[in-house]
Symmetry: C2
Subunit: 310 residues, 2 copies
């Protein structure tokens, strides 16, 4: 495994690769979610590049850029074991944003204005900019992202489409802790009590799944209000948003769920902001090509993590 710290070296390294290249963009402090992306990239490509870059432009003022957790030694060990060929970890953010940088890549429209886009102004502009830049440097055939950042996956897809980049975006299911909490590098911020309180997020998602998939309810407003009612009982958790949205456009759904839908949550537990989501495909709703495997994965994941309620 080769560790590369400059753009020039990465471009040179890429020039020497024949066959398909898979890229896993990360901000480091890797967990099993990241490693599942690396392993999938490993299985589907001749070369696997993992980038580790805590991208300053996607953090807002007052966010946790300064204290975002870092552990390069551990990350490299994990990546070696997971089968990465190249780890691209720019030694300084100036590598990615050289003086005079003005190559902002931005998508517009409702997709970036809602949810994370509304809660974190400028966030997606930073994400699309750094991902586009990584794509131009690494020129991957495929890039792997976790569904935990469901909106990010869709924003990046729109960016790739608009920029005409020849990269296949491969979303992978959220990996969860044994008790159901979605893995996140930010979970390290949680105190033991907060860690326990945070479980209401996957449990709220499980409630939505029960209502729609088990009980056959179809009223999105009702499911959203039920999640509000559920989370209202948990004073340790400050809800930022509860969304039941079209799986593709993330437009908010009301009344009858007749298309695959995402339930998306953002909440603060203490000082830590967490997000989570799940995909709902009600019985009788046509499943678009490409969602089948994701649905199976989610079912398996939810089963594994109990999912019989709080």
């Amino acid at each position: 495994m080769k560790v590369i710290e400059s753009v020039a070296e990465m471009e040179a390294g890429r020039a020497g690769m024949a066959g398909s290249v898979g890229l896993v963009p990360t901000m480091g402090f890797l967990h099993e979610g990241h490693l599942s992306l690396v392993r999938r990239a490993r299985a589907g490509n001749e070369h696997v590049v993992v980038s580790i870059f805590v991208n300053p432009t996607q953090f807002g003022p007052g966010e946790d850029y300064d204290r975002y957790p870092r552990d390069a030694d551990r990350d490299l060990q994990l990546l070696e074991a997971a089968g990465a060929d190249f780890v691209f970890m720019p030694r300084h953010w100036r590598e990615m944003y050289p003086p005079g940088f003005d190559d902002w890549v931005e998508v517009r429209g409702p997709l970036v204005l809602r949810l994370e886009g509304a809660a974190r102004p400028g966030h997606f502009r930073g994400v699309t900019t750094v991902v586009a830049r990584l794509f131009r440097i690494v020129r991957p055939h495929r890039a792997y992202f976790g569904q935990k950042d469901a909106q990010q996956v869709r924003v990046i897809r729109q960016m790739v489409r608009e920029q005409g980049l020849p990269v296949e975006i491969v979303p992978m299911p959220t990996v969860r802790e044994p008790d159901g909490l979605a893995m996140s590098s930010r979970n390290v911020y949680l105190s033991p009590e907060e860690r326990q309180s945070a479980l209401v997020l996957p449990r709220a998602l499980e409630l939505a799944r029960k209502m729609v998939l088990e009980w056959g309810l179809r009223d999105a407003d009702l499911v959203r209000e039920s999640l509000e009612d559920y989370l209202r009982q948990k004073p340790q958790v400050q809800v930022e948003y509860i969304s039941i949205a079209d799986e593709e456009t993330l437009e908010e759904l009301h009344h009858s769920i007749e298309r695959p839908a995402l339930v998306l949550l953002a909440a603060r537990v203490g000082a830590t902001r967490l997000i989570d989501n799940t995909l709902l495909v009600p019985e009788g709703v046509e499943v678009p090509e490409g969602l089948h495997q994701i649905i199976e994965d989610i079912k398996a994941g939810m089963r594994e993590h109990g999912g019989t309620g709080p």
Copy 2:
């Protein structure tokens, strides 16, 4: 076991009883629900009287008085086995309503105006009249009623209070078929397909129990709407009402459930009208004296009948 067919004989029979008397008023075509009342009466009294009388005054025009199922031979065998001492089965309705009868017993107020009272005008007037008359003939110390007719139990309690009758009203938990359907003499009207469709009633109650007791939701409107949404998906079932009401007064609850509540359903499956209900006592809500055993019984019953959803 003595079978008595006239009021005069019943009064004479009663005069010969020393010690406590338990009465189980029924309309015959007995099922396990009735028998559980008889067995409880047997365990708690020196004498057990069961009345079998299809009371015409509690049926409305167009209701099923004419075709209400009857099977006296089987009923008597079952009652003998359950330990009844006296079966009072007036040979004609004129026994109970002699010429010139004008002894109507009626309770007033919100309790009789809602739900069954609204759906079946005059029904409770017929019930309170016949029960009061039975109480005056049999002079029981205790009378046993099934919680399946939850509103009836409360109406009879009000009647007993207002009339100053010295009878303890003992409500007993609804007995269910193995698949969860509440036992009812009217279940015999259901075709095999309707019988299957009817299961959405106990399942809807189970949904309410999950939302409130398992997930901790407290918004009665939300639970009611969820049941509406659930039952709306079942075109075989025409809902008459879905009520989430104060356990005691049956006043409709909105927003926060902070008292024991009943969920009450009435629906038509084909031509057959069915009712069912369950008691909800959310965590943290004070349980009035007398409900403890009922709550335990319901829990046991729901567990027994699966209750893991549809």
